[in-house]
C-alpha cells in the first residue's frame, strides 16, 4: 500500500521540556518523525516548547513553532498553518493528551485536520481504564482487580474489594505521577486524595497488588494492512512495584519459555487490534506471576515511549521512523531495513547479545525525600549497555552510569553492615540495592533467601553470584593473573579501573599489561538479525569475543564523545551539541564517530553519525575504540563534564584532542591559575579563595564577610553549592562540598547579593571572536544559571555594560586560545562587571542561543575544531535578535513530596522551555505556560510575603497588581511595607502566628497567586509550607522578587494584548 498522497502538510506535536518520565527519547522520536516527513516531501509544521532539542532546529521542519504545547496554542498554529493531518503519537503523553483535548473540543474537525497514528477513540480505549479492561478480557487475559474512583466514597468501596496493599494511580498523568502503594487506611486516604487532585479528570484507579511479579514490556508495530510485528520483549530485573522507568531492565526477555513468550506476543497483537491503533508503535506491559505463570496486562501506550526508544537502540529497529512511515500510509513490507538493506521492516528483530538499561537517579539533590523506589518514576536519565552476556552488559552498565562506581565492590557501601541490617536493606527497594545484593552473595546468603527478600528473579541473582565469585577469584589471583583469567574477567565485563585497583596499579599500567597479554576488545555489530544477513550500518559494541567486526576506513575521522546518561545539570543540551558536531563533520566530509551510552538520545541514533559505538564513556572503553579507529582528533568539549573529565587521561595516552587545549580548560577550571589569568587581563572576580577544610573556610568568611558562596571544584550543575549567611551553616556546607568532590579544594566566594547575572556564549577560531548571545538572568545572582529564567537579548542592561561584557569575553577567549565555544558567566552589581566563571566548552545555553539568533553555534564550533575559520564559515558578526526569547527552567518538585521549591546555587531543574515574542511580558508569559506553571487568573487575590531586602522595592510589584485590579494580602512586615507605599492590602497570619493562616487560605482556594521570597535557613524553613501548598494545590507561585516583577509584566502584557504564534523561521529571517 503506497503512501497516502492526500497528506501534504503534517502538524507534529512535540513533548515539551525534559521532565521526569518524559525525557530526550521524544527528541529522538520527534526528530526521526520530522526527518521522515521532510524526506517524503511533506510539509512539516512542528510545535514544541523545548529549545534544547534537535527536533526544534529550524531545518528539521518547514515551520517550527517554539510555543507552549497547550490546546489553545496548538489551535492557533492550526489556524495559521491549516495542516491536513496531525501526528500526536511521537510526542509522549503531552502530545497525546493535547491532541485528545483538541479532538474532544472539535478543533480538528472544525479545521479539517485528520489524526494520523492514533485517533480519538483509539487513545480513549487505551487510556480509559474501564474500556481497556474490557479489551484485555476480550483478548482472553486478565487485568489486576481494579476499580475507578472519582471520590473518597468510591475509593472506600474499592478498598474493600482489593485489600492491602492497594495501588492507587491517578488517570492521565505522566510517568505514573501520583502513583502510590498504601499499606493501611491512613496512607490509603492520603494517597487517594493526592491522586484525585493530580489527575486532570479527578480520577484514580485502585488496584489489587501484584507486587513481586515479573514485569515485561513488548514493543508492537502495526500497519494499515494489519501486519503486526513485535520489535522487542523487555524484561525487568526488578519486580512489579518498582516503576519500569526506575527498574533495571534487560532485553530480550530472559526467563520466559517460548510458550510463555508467545502468550504475551499474541496478547500484544490482539490488544493492538482491539484498541484500534491503526498504524504505528505501541507498548504493552505485562506482569507474570513467578509461581504460576498467570499473566496480567498492566497497560498499553498507543504511542512511542521511553521503552520504544530503548527497544530501537537495543535492536537497531528504528520504531519512531517506521511509525511515521506507517502513519503516512506505507506498510511494513514496503519499508526497507536500513541495516541489512536487503530485507524489509516487516519482521521481528533477533538479537544476539544482551542489553541492560540502568536508570540514573539524583536523590543527592533532594536530601529530604525518601529514596525508596516505588511505582512513581523518579529517575532522571538512563544508561544502556550491550554485551555478549548479561554479566558483561551489567558491569558495563555500572560504569556507563558515571556515579563514581566501576563494579559491585563493597567499597561503595558500609561493608561492615550486620547481616540483619543487610537483610533489611534487601527488603527495601533502594536505588543502590544491587550492591547490597552482591554483598549478601559475598557472605554466602543463599539466592533463595535473597529472592525471598528482594523479589529479584533468581536468574539475575545467579548471574550476580557468578560475578561475585569471579571477583573472589580475581582478588586471589590478581598478582599472577594468567591469560585465561584475564580474558574471563573481561568477558564478565570487569572494568580495567577496578582490576587495576585490585592489582595496586594505575589504570593505564594495568591496561598495558592486559594488552600485552593479547586481551583486547573486539567489536560486534548490532544488525537486527543476529548475523543472518550482512550489516551495512556500523553500529557497534565491544566484547571480548574472538571476532572483531569494526572496519576502519581511510577517511579523515573525528570522534565525538557524548554526555552519557541524562542527569540534572547535564542533559539534552549537550546531546544537541554532540549531534551538531556530527552533522558538521558530514558537511565538511569528515567521518564522524560517536561514542555514547544514552539510549534516549538523537546522538545514539545509528544514522546520526558515520559510526556509532554504544559504549560507556570510561577511559578504557573510549581507548579501546581509539585503538581500533585511530581517529585524527577527538572532541571532548560538547558532551558536558563527562568527556571533559577524560581529557587529561586521553591526552596523556597520546590522543589528539581537538579544539581548545586541555591546558586552557585547566586554566579556567583551576582556581589559582584562573586568578592569575584574570590578573593578567586586569579583569575582576568576586573576592574568592580556596580551602581544604572548615577552619580555613571560617577565617576566609571572616575576611570577606557573609554572605559567601561555598562550592566544590570539578562538579557540574552546582552540586553541593550553597549561599551561606552564618558560621553554623558554613560548617555544614563545607562538609557537603568536601563530600561532593573529595581531594579537591572547596571554593569560597564573596556572594554578590542583588547582582544581575549574565551568561555569554561565544565562538572563537583563535583569531576572531564572535558573540553568540548575551543572556540576562531574570533571577538575581545566587541561583544556578541552569535554574534561572533568562532573556536574550538582555532587557535591563545599559549599552555600556553590554559593551564591557563583550570586550571581556573577547579578551578571555583570545587569551585562552579558544578553538570552538566558550561560555562566561558574569555578575553585574552597581555598574561593575565581575567574572563568576569561564567555561571554554559547550554550555547548556548553546541550543537556546543558536535558535534565538538562527545560527548553529555548535556546528560552527565543531568545524572550527576541525580547522575551519569563522571567516570561511561566514559567521563574523554578532546577530542581535529583533525579538525576545525567554528561557525558563522546569523542576521536578511534584515528584518529590516534602521537598522545598526554593531555588539556590545547586541546580535542580530537569529541563527548559522557551517563550518567544517581540514583547518581553508575552515572551515571559509563554515561558511560564510552557513550563507547566499556570498564570495567575485575570482577577483574584495575590499573596505577598517578601524578604527584607526586597521590601524597599515592594512598590514595583504591589502597585501594578493593585492597578490591574488584584486584591492583595500579605503577612506582617510585607503588609506594613505595602501599606507604607499607600497600596491597600489585607493582613494574613504566617503559619507560625496561628490560624487561620496563609496555608489555610491557599488550600481553601482563596489565593490565586503566591509571591514568596525568603532568605536564610530559618526563614526558608518557616515559609516552606506556603510554597509547598501552592505547588500541591496548583496555585501559581514565584520564589524570587525578580521573577515576581517579570510575572507582573507578563500579566500586564496579557491584559493589553493576546498571545499570537509565529514560527522560528520567520523570527530568524527578520533578525538577519
Amino acid at each position: 500500500m503506497p503512501r497516502d498522497n492526500s497528506i501534504k502538510k503534517v502538524l507534529v506535536i512535540g513533548s515539551g521540556p525534559i521532565v521526569i518520565g518524559q525525557a530526550c527519547e521524544f527528541d529522538y522520536s520527534g526528530a526521526q518523525a520530522c526527518k521522515v516527513l521532510m524526506e517524503e516531501g511533506i510539509k512539516v509544521v512542528l510545535i514544541n516548547s523545548n529549545p534544547a532539542t534537535i527536533m526544534t532546529d529550524p531545518d528539521m521542519a518547514d515551520r517550527t513553532y517554539i510555543e507552549p504545547i497547550t490546546p489553545e496554542m496548538v489551535e492557533k498554529v492550526i489556524i495559521e498553518e491549516r495542516p491536513d493531518a496531525v501526528l500526536p503519537t511521537l510526542g509522549g503523553q503531552t502530545a497525546l493528551n493535547t491532541a485528545l483535548t483538541l479532538a474532544e473540543n472539535g478543533v480538528f474537525e472544525k479545521y479539517g485536520v485528520r489524526m494520523i497514528g492514533a485517533d480519538r477513540e483509539t487513545i480513549e480505549r487505551a487510556e480509559n481504564r474501564e474500556q481497556f479492561k474490557a479489551i484485555v478480557e476480550k483478548a482472553g487475559l486478565g487485568v489486576a482487580k481494579s476499580f475507578i474512583a472519582h471520590n473518597m466514597d468510591d475509593a472506600v468501596k474499592a478498598r474493600d474489594e482489593v485489600g492491602f496493599p492497594a495501588i492507587i494511580r491517578p488517570s492521565f498523568t505522566l510517568g505514573g505521577s501520583g502513583g502510590n502503594i498504601a499499606y493501611n487506611n491512613d496512607e490509603y486516604e492520603r494517597f487517594v486524595e493526592w491522586g484525585l487532585s493530580l489527575s486532570p479528570m479527578s480520577e484514580v484507579l485502585i488496584e489489587e497488588s501484584i507486587l513481586g511479579w515479573k514485569e515485561y514490556e513488548l514493543e508492537v508495530m502495526r500497519d494499515k494492512a494489519d501486519n503486526v510485528v513485535i520489535v522487542c520483549p523487555i524484561e525487568n530485573l526488578d519486580p512489579m512495584g518498582i516503576h519500569t522507568g526506575d527498574s533495571v531492565t534487560v532485553a530480550p526477555a530472559q526467563t520466559l519459555t517460548d510458550k510463555e513468550y508467545q502468550v504475551l506476543r499474541d496478547a500484544s497483537i490482539d490488544i493492538m487490534r482491539l484498541v484500534g491503533v491503526e498504524t504505528g508503535g505501541s507498548n504493552v506491559q505485562f506482569a507474570v506471576c513467578p509461581k504460576t505463570g498467570r499473566v496480567i496486562v498492566i497497560e498499553m501506550n498507543p504511542r512511542v515511549s521511553r521503552s520504544s526508544a530503548l527497544a530501537s537502540k537495543a535492536t537497531g529497529f528504528p520504531i519512531a521512523k517506521i511509525a511515521t512511515k506507517l502513519a503516512i500510509g506505507y506498510t511494513l513490507d514496503e519499508i526497507p531495513n536500513d541495516i541489512t538493506r536487503k530485507t524489509y521492516a516487516c519482521f521481528e528483530p533477533s538479537i544476539d547479545y544482551c542489553v541492560v538499561k540502568w536508570p540514573r537517579f539524583t536523590f543527592e539533590k533532594f536530601p529530604n525525600t525518601d529514596p525508596t523506589l516505588g511505582i512513581q518514576m523518579r529517575s532522571v536519565g538512563e544508561a544502556m549497555s550491550i554485551g555478549r552476556t548479561f554479566k558483561e552488559a551489567f558491569n558495563k552498565a555500572i560504569r556507563s552510569l558515571e556515579i563514581g562506581r566501576d563494579s559491585l565492590s563493597n567499597q561503595y557501601i558500609d561493608a561492615n553492615i550486620t547481616d540483619v541490617d543487610l537483610m533489611e536493606k534487601l527488603r527495601q527497594h533502594l536505588w543502590d540495592r544491587l550492591w547490597y545484593v552482591a554483598e549478601a552473595l559475598r557472605r554466602g546468603i543463599s539466592v533463595a533467601k535473597i529472592y525471598q527478600l528482594s523479589a529479584i528473579d533468581p536468574w539475575y541473582l545467579h548471574n550476580l553470584r557468578e560475578i561475585v565469585q569471579m571477583e573472589a577469584e580475581l582478588i586471589k589471583n590478581i598478582d599472577n593473573i594468567d591469560v585465561d583469567l584475564m580474558r574471563k574477567a573481561k568477558q564478565y565485563g570487569f572494568a580495567d579501573s577496578y582490576l587495576a585497583k585490585l592489582a595496586n596499579m594505575t589504570e593505564s599500567d594495568f591496561r598495558a599489561k592486559r594488552k600485552s597479554m593479547g586481551i583486547i576488545a573486539s567489536f560486534k555489530r548490532v544488525d537486527t538479525c543476529a548475523g543472518e544477513f550482512e550489516a551495512f550500518t556500523p553500529y557497534l559494541y565491544s566484547s571480548y569475543d574472538q571476532e572483531c567486526e569494526a572496519e576502519r576506513t581511510d577517511r579523515r575521522k573525528i570522534m565525538i564523545l557524548g554526555g552519557g546518561p541524562n542527569r540534572i545539570g547535564q542533559g539534552i543540551e549537550f546531546d544537541y551539541c554532540c549531534v551538531h558536531a556530527s552533522f558538521a563533520m558530514e558537511e565538511i566530509d569528515v567521518e564522524s564517530i560517536m561514542v555514547n551510552c544514552n539510549p534516549e538520545t538523537v546522538s545514539t541514533d545509528y544514522d546520526t553519525s558515520d559510526k556509532l559505538y554504544f559504549e560507556p564513556l570510561a577511559f578504557e572503553d573510549v581507548m579501546s575504540i581509539i585503538d581500533k579507529e585511530k581517529p585524527d582528533g577527538v572532541i571532548v568539549q560538547f558532551g558536558g563534564q563527562t568527556p571533559l573529565k577524560l581529557a587529561q587521561a586521553l591526552e596523556e595516552a597520546g590522543v589528539t584532542i581537538i579544539g581548545t587545549s586541555p591546558d586552557s580548560i585547566d586554566r579556567a577550571e583551576d582556581r589559582e591559575r584562573f586568578r592569575l589569568l584574570l590578573n593578567k587581563l586586569e579583569l575582576q572576580q568576586p573576592y574568592s579563595g580556596t580551602t581544604m577544610d572548615f577552619a580555613g573556610a571560617l577565617s576566609m568568611a571572616k575576611k570577606i564577610g557573609y554572605p559567601v558562596l561555598v562550592r566544590p571544584s570539578f562538579v557540574l550543575g552546582g552540586r553541593a553549592m550553597n549561599v551561606v549567611y552564618d558560621d553554623a551553616n558554613l560548617e555544614r556546607c563545607v562538609a557537603q562540598a568536601i563530600e561532593a568532590s573529595p581531594d579537591h579544594p572547596v571554593l569560597i566566594d564573596k556572594f554578590l547579593a542583588g547582582a544581575t547575572e549574565l551568561d555569554v556564549d561565544a565562538v572563537c577560531d583563535g583569531h576572531e571572536v564572535v558573540i553568540g548571545g548575551v543572556l540576562e538572568h531574570i533571577e538575581e545572582a545566587g541561583i544556578h544559571s541552569g535554574d534561572s529564567a533568562c532573556s536574550l537579548p538582555p532587557v535591563t542592561l545599559s549599552d555600556d555594560i553590554l559593551k564591557e561584557v563583550k570586550r571581556q569575553t573577547k579578551l578571555l577567549a583570545m587569551e585562552l586560545k579558544v578553538l570552538g565555544l566558550i561560555n562566561i558567566q558574569y555578575a553585574v552589581l552597581d555598574g561593575e562587571v565581575y567574572i563568576i566563571e569561564v567555561n571554554p566548552r559547550a554550555s547548556r545555553t548553546v541550543p537556546f542561543v543558536s535558535k534565538v539568533i538562527g545560527v548553529p553555534l555548535a556546528k560552527i564550533a565543531a568545524k572550527i575544531m576541525a580547522g575551519k575559520t569563522l571567516k570561511e564559515l561566514n559567521f563574523t558578526k554578532e546577530v542581535i535578535p529583533k525579538h525576545i526569547a525567554v528561557k525558563e527552567a522546569v523542576f521536578p518538585f511534584i515528584k518529590f513530596p516534602g521537598v522545598d521549591t526554593t531555588l539556590g546555587p545547586e541546580m535542580l531543574s530537569t529541563g527548559e522551555v522557551m517563550g518567544l515574542s517581540t514583547d518581553f511580558g508575552i515572551a515571559f508569559a509563554k515561558s511560564q505556560i510552557a513550563a507547566g506553571s499556570k498564570l495567575p487568573p485575570e482577577k483574584g487575590t495575590v499573596f505577598i510575603s517578601i524578604k527584607d531586602l526586597d521590601k524597599k522595592s515592594a512598590m514595583e510589584v504591589a502597585m501594578p497588581l493593585h492597578k490591574m485590579g488584584y486584591k492583595l494580602v500579605a503577612t506582617g512586615g510585607t503588609c506594613d511595607a505595602i501599606r507604607g507605599i499607600g497600596v491597600p492590602v489585607d493582613y494574613v497570619k504566617k503559619v507560625a502566628d496561628g490560624r487561620p493562616n496563609v496555608v489555610d487560605k491557599i488550600i481553601n482556594g482563596d489565593i490565586d497567586f503566591v509571591i514568596n521570597t525568603t532568605v536564610g535557613a530559618k526563614a526558608i524553613k518557616d515559609s516552606f509550607s506556603i510554597r509547598r501548598s501552592a505547588l500541591d494545590n496548583g496555585v501559581p507561585y514565584v520564589t524570587t522578587f525578580e521573577a515576581a516583577k517579570a510575572m507582573v509584566k507578563a500579566m500586564q502584557s496579557l491584559q493589553t494584548q493576546g498571545m499570537s504564534v509565529k514560527p522560528l523561521q520567520l523570527y530568524n529571517r527578520s533578525s538577519k
Partner: protein, 367 residues
C-alpha cells in the same frame, strides 16, 4: 571439560563442554530464535545437525515436559555462547545440561557463536564435528579423520531411521472429532499433532514408507505430510506414495512434507546456502497480501521455476529472499507450506492453515 567444534573447511572453535562427552558429526547450522531451545533441540528435523543458537544465553528457563516436541533429541550437537546451569522458571524440571547428558548429546559453550554464525552465513552450512572430552579425543587430526568419513546430508535418506516403525494413534480418539487424518511421520513435531487434534482430527501416525493403499483403505478424510530432516529427493518411496494419493484424498504438508508434495507435483528442490532457521521469517500470503511472522527450519527449498504453474499455484513467499514458502494444487485438493504454522517455538500467526486443512476436508467430503 574442554570441547571443540571443527568445520570441514578447517575452522576450529574451542569451548567448554556441557552435556555428554564424545564426538559426533553433523551439518553445522544456526538458529536465530531467542526463545525455544527446548523445542528446537527436540525437533526431529535437526537430525544430523549441529545447532548453534545465535542468542547467547541458553538454558535460562531449564527443561520442562510440556515443551518437548518428539520422543528425543535427534540433533548431533548443541553450540551456545553461555550455557546457564541455574534455570529460573516455575515449570523447569531439570537443567539443559543434564537433559543433554541424559540424551547423550554434546553441548559446547564459551565460543564466539556470532563469529560461527557469520562464518556459516558467508561460507554456507557445512559438515562439522563436535567433540567434548580429554585431549586425545580432542586431537584435531583425529577429528579431521572422523569428519572426513561423514557423508553429509545431500542425497541421503535420514528420515527412515527416525520415523516410527508401526502406525499408532495420537492422543485419545473420540467421536466428537469430525475428521480422520493420516499423518506421515518423516520426523513429526508433537505440536502439529496437537494442533490437528485441536482442529477436530482423530490423527493416526504412519511410518514414512507406508504405501498409498494402506492409507486409502483406512477410511481417512485427509493426509498430513510432516516435517522432517534432510534432502527430500532421496525419499522416492514417499514421493511415489504422495503421487498415488493426490486427487483421492485431501493433502496438507509442512516443511519436508511441502517439499515432497512439490516433488510429487513435478518440482525439484535445491539446497539453500545456510537455510532458514528461526522464529522471525516474514512470509507473505499472496492471496491476502498479509505478512505472517513465521517459524522456520529448513536447509532445502523448492525450486520455484520448476513448478508447472498450470497445476500449482504459489500461495506464500519469503520476503527476505523471495524463496517459495507455500503452494496449492489447482486440480487436486492439496496444499503445503515450507514454514511451521504449528510454531513451537515461534509466533502463532499462521495457525489458520490448520483450519484451511479442515475446510478442505469438509469440501472434499461434500463432493
Amino acid at each position: 571439560m574442554k570441547a571443540v567444534l571443527l568445520l570441514e573447511d578447517g575452522t576450529v572453535f574451542h569451548g567448554r563442554g556441557f552435556g555428554a562427552e564424545g564426538f559426533k558429526c553433523g551439518e553445522a547450522v544456526f538458529n536465530t530464535s531467542m526463545t525455544g531451545y527446548q523445542e528446537i533441540l527436540t525437533d526431529p528435523s535437526y537430525n544430523e545437525q549441529i545447532i548453534t543458537m545465535t542468542y547467547p544465553l541458553i538454558g535460562n528457563y531449564g527443561i520442562n515436559e510440556g515443551d518437548i516436541e518428539s520422543r528425543g533429541i535427534f540433533a548431533s550437537g548443541f553450540v551456545v555462547r553461555e550455557y546457564c546451569d541455574y534455570p529460573s522458571n516455575f515449570q523447569s524440571q531439570q537443567t539443559l545440561g543434564k537433559y543433554l547428558k541424559d540424551n547423550n548429546i554434546i553441548g559446547i559453550d564459551s565460543i564466539d557463536t556470532r563469529a560461527l554464525t557469520r562464518h556459516i552465513r558467508d561460507k554456507g552450512a557445512m559438515r562439522a564435528i563436535i567433540a567434548s572430552g580429554d585431549e586425545q579425543l580432542l586431537s584435531i587430526d583425529n577429528l579431521k579423520n572422523e569428519l572426513a568419513k561423514y557423508p553429509g546430508l545431500e542425497g541421503r535418506d535420514i528420515v527412515k531411521d527416525i520415523s516410527i516403525k508401526t502406525a499408532q494413534p495420537f492422543g485419545n480418539h473420540s467421536q466428537d472429532k469430525e475428521f480422520k487424518v493420516a499423518a506421515f511421520d518423516f520426523g513429526i513435531k508433537t505440536n502439529i499433532l496437537r494442533m490437528l487434534d485441536a482442529a477436530g482430527c482423530n490423527v493416526t501416525i504412519f511410518p514414512a514408507d507406508t504405501n498409498a493403499q494402506t492409507i486409502l483403505d483406512g477410511g481417512f478424510d485427509g493426509v498430513f505430510l510432516s516435517n522432517g530432516p534432510g534432502d527430500p529427493e532421496p525419499l522416492t518411496y514417499a514421493i511415489v506414495t504422495i503421487k498415488e494419493l493426490l486427487g483421492k484424498i485431501p493433502v496438507f504438508g509442512i516443511c519436508l512434507g511441502h517439499q515432497l508434495l512439490s516433488l510429487a507435483m513435478g518440482g525439484s528442490a535445491y539446497k539453500l546456502k545456510f537455510g532458514h532457521r528461526g522464529g522471525n521469517q516474514p512470509v507473505q500470503n499472496l492471496k491476502t497480501k498479509k505478512v505472517e511472522i513465521t517459524s522456520q527450519n529448513h536447509g532445502f527449498c523448492v525450486n520455484l521455476e520448476a513448478l508447472d504453474k498450470n497445476k500449482v499455484e504459489l500461495t506464500h513467499v519469503n520476503l527476505n529472499d523471495n524463496t517459495l514458502e507455500g503452494i496449492r494444487c489447482k486440480n487436486v485438493p492439496a496444499f503445503s507450506v515450507q514454514y511451521h504454522p504449528e510454531s513451537s517455538p515461534g509466533p502463532h500467526d499462521s495457525a489458520y492453515l490448520f483450519d484451511e486443512f479442515t475446510n478442505m476436508m469438509n469440501d472434499f467430503k461434500k463432493v
